[in-house]
Amino acid sequence: MVAKNEGHINTLLERYWNCETTLSEEQELRDFFSQSNLPAAWQPYAPLFAYTREEQSVALSEGFDERLKQAMEKEKTGNKEYVTIRIFAPLLRVAASLLLIVGLGISIFFITRQNNNPWFVETYDDPNAAIKDATYALEKLSHALQTTEEASLQTIRVIDDLDIDWSALDSLITDDGELTTDSLAATAQEKNDTMRIGTFISSDKKEKEI
């Protein structure tokens, strides 16, 4: 049988090397070379056809379809998990930029407001007028202070005119430096307005020191 086909196989093989064989002829060659007792002349080429045959039998492992199914389902549920985020993704960007703009606006507003503080704003164009007004304001303040000082001096004078017995009042103060209720009651009989006078004690003492 081999002898009968010898010429045929040789031509096929020759055409095979020249890429002139059809797919079915190539299969024929593969089949021929798969036989075990191959004539020595063709022996060297057997591994090539054996190799391609072997490669053809490489297949996916058993669990592949199952794993693929799982991966596909995971992908589906994975999409669901982030569906809200995905919907709002463009809005999130808008929101973020809005927030940034509003924040910037607010901070700019406050910064410019700070610069607008009335105490620091130059309201006078003429420096002379500014000095004039400042002097006027300071004089007014000085006058007010003077009036208060005079009023206080007058009060002191009034107290002096009352002719209070200071030594008696001093004796009311105990060694602890506090007025006792008993002594207060005693003084109340002497003076009509003890409490009012009492309030003057400290200021009077201060004046004595001065």
Binding site: Y16, P47, L60, M72
Partner: protein, 169 residues
């Protein structure tokens, strides 16, 4: 959008796609991983199917590119992929006949020779010999002309012939 193309065109060729990936990365797990990546990617982009003229050729092209990308990262990740193949050779049962070892050695030789071929020749050879594709199908898959497919295949076969003839003598 119907899922029909996925079940009628893509899924039936998954074994062939797998073999293309396997032919490039030479690792069962990696090849399955690549195929799964591709199928998931295709599944999640249903609306793009209609834009693709030849979905089948597109799949082959895609898996080829993905496998080549993976191969590039694999060589960085591990260097033992070749060694593992050689292991078969080292641990040949001492009782086994001499011829068996010769066959294994020849197989390794073919594999190495194939790997040394330019990418297009390697793929043309694989698609023709293992997948039994026509020249037209290969040209569509590799996005090269039919003439170039023929030339690539011719060179690949010639290299094989020289290798085997040299080994035999």
């Amino acid at each position: 959008m119907s899922n029909e193309p996925f079940f009628q065109i893509i899924l039936p060729i998954k074994d062939r796609l797998f073999r293309v990936a396997y032919g490039i990365v030479r690792d069962q797990e990696e090849a399955e991983d690549i195929l799964q990546d591709l199928l998931l990617k295709l599944w999640s982009r249903k609306e793009e199917w209609s834009d693709i003229g030849n979905l089948e050729a597109y799949c082959f092209r895609a898996i080829k590119n993905m496998a080549l990308d993976r191969l590039a990262t694999m060589t960085l990740r591990k260097t033992d992929s070749i060694e593992r193949e050689r292991e078969d050779l080292y641990f040949v049962d001492h009782q086994s006949p001499h011829s068996e070892m010769v066959i294994k050695e020849q197989r390794l030789l073919i594999e190495r020779c194939l790997r040394e071929l330019p990418e297009n020749q390697q793929l043309a050879f694989r698609l023709r010999e293992v997948e039994g594709m026509s020249y037209r199908e290969i040209s569509e898959t590799l996005a090269i002309s039919e003439d170039l497919v023929r030339i690539s295949l011719f060179r690949a076969r010639k290299k094989m012939k020289e290798l085997l003839a040299g080994y035999g003598s």
